[in-house]
Symmetry: C2
Subunit: 287 residues, 2 copies
């Protein structure tokens, strides 16, 4: 049970978490923090939050759970703004899709990694953003990865785990570096590929016909290219080494595939498609 | 109206076409042709076809419309098997996802491009294959691209157009080379990217965690990697020049993106994501 939940950044993720915890009866009060009163007033009018502050120091006052749901690029500044204003036993967690950078930001902002900080990442989202797109069921059946470090207290970890479990999510733990490698492969790299593909097609001679005649597979493949550009800019900087490594590995294999297509090397192509189908089908149940 | 429709290759596309035309009351009789009697008997039992032949020469006897729905790799052999057995006014069309190769196959098989041959391609499908996956609504609201050549008779073109219109599809025409460039960009290249991505992830150290923690975006992005490997092998060989050109263009831009990520060049990355989102959003209505 959370007495006063403070959500910093009431967008798709922060807003959906507030809705999910409210409908689970997990919070007595939900305080939203953001920069723009108008947007916060909208969140209040929607019933997502009970009240709001535009000053984070005010917003976290008396909160026993603080969820920092801001873009990775402003995480360090946000931590700095909380310095000295948190209640002694307040638990802090975040929802950033890269974890080593969040831990480094905390170390810089607080001078150490606070024992009540639990780095976290819900593997859920849509290509939309903003509180208007939020909904209580966003995390149901999805994974939330927590990446505690040696400093993290078991009590704080347990409280964050309970919070996410109440949203219907499956909570797992892994080391921050493993999280970043896994997310680079399954989320960040696909996003870079989809955006680059759309961008390349836009430069082609037949780009109007290309988009007009695109099939459902193209729609699925490029949906993520509609996500928030600032967020993805931040992700690419925050997890640059893991994303670059995955992208370079992908490019090495693409070069082999391109050579096979150019050389009409059917055996190599058939073997690729057979391997990929077997892997994809093997994990269809898991996906 | 079609008197006797012969569908050579009663799979997802051939089967769905048969179902759609039957439910539109467009055919008096539907004859299926394939290699395996057992599968054809299954199609007959499902009510997709009225009867079947395993010999194409027998199957096309007396048919006024022949749809060749076989993989691109066996198209030429299939055309050869029809040589001398078609009724004089029979119209032939195909459903292959590369068009210049089909026209070349016809030229080789028949010694010329028959005036009653209308190369065609329905932009519809799922990652499944086989007649069991076929359904009458597959083409509804989807495009069918016809790529007539100078030899093609207007009468044959009109009959194929009418056939596809009856399935609920929107029929458009374009030159074969434009079709192949457009499809390389919107379908063949995404497929190559998705399959290569899945294959690369399968070789990573954390591949079990990678697949276990994959998000919905990954599922959407890689769904097409579950398609029939032989079909995609054939597509890559049949449209190799257009696919290779699109892939090499993609790789050139990926190299710039990788360099930007490695160099933490936020401006370049932000500009990419902004352009891609604008393009994707612009075409969301069209998709």
């Amino acid at each position: 049970m959370i007495d006063r939940l403070c959500i910093i950044g009431v967008g798709l993720i922060g807003g959906s978490l507030a809705r999910a915890l409210r409908s689970a009866g997990m919070c007595r009060e939900i305080v939203g923090v953001g920069r723009q009163s108008q947007r916060l007033e909208g969140a209040r009018a929607l019933g997502v939050i009970d009240r709001y502050e535009t000053d984070a120091a005010q917003g976290v006052k008396g909160a026993d759970m603080v969820v920092v749901a801001v873009p990775l690029g402003v995480m360090q500044g946000q931590f700095q703004a909380l310095q000295g204003h948190l209640a002694p036993e307040a638990v802090i967690t975040d929802v950033g899709s890269a974890k080593r950078s969040v831990i480094a930001a905390a170390r810089t902002a607080f001078g150490h990694v606070p024992r009540n900080l639990v780095p976290g990442h819900p593997i859920a989202g849509t290509e939309k953003s903003g509180v208007e797109a939020s909904f209580a069921g966003l995390f149901e059946g999805h994974r939330v990865i927590l990446t505690p470090v040696s400093e993290t207290s078991a009590g704080a970890l347990g409280r964050v785990r309970d919070m996410w479990t109440a949203t219907g999510a499956e909570v797992v733990e892994m080391p921050p570096a493993m999280h970043d490698e896994v997310l680079a492969a399954t989320s960040h790299l696909p996003h870079v590929l989809a955006s680059t593909l759309v961008d390349v097609l836009g430069t082609m001679n037949e780009h109007l016909e290309i988009f007009r005649n695109a099939a459902g597979s193209f729609r699925d493949f490029t949906r993520i290219a509609s996500s928030d550009p600032q967020m993805w800019h931040d992700v690419c900087l925050a997890n640059s080494d893991a994303i670059a490594a995955a992208l370079r590995a992908m490019m090495r294999e693409l070069d082999q595939v391109a050579t096979a297509i150019e050389g009409r090397d059917g055996d190599t192509l058939k073997a690729l498609f057979v391997r990929a189908k077997a892997l994809r089908d093997q994990y269809t149940g898991a996906l």
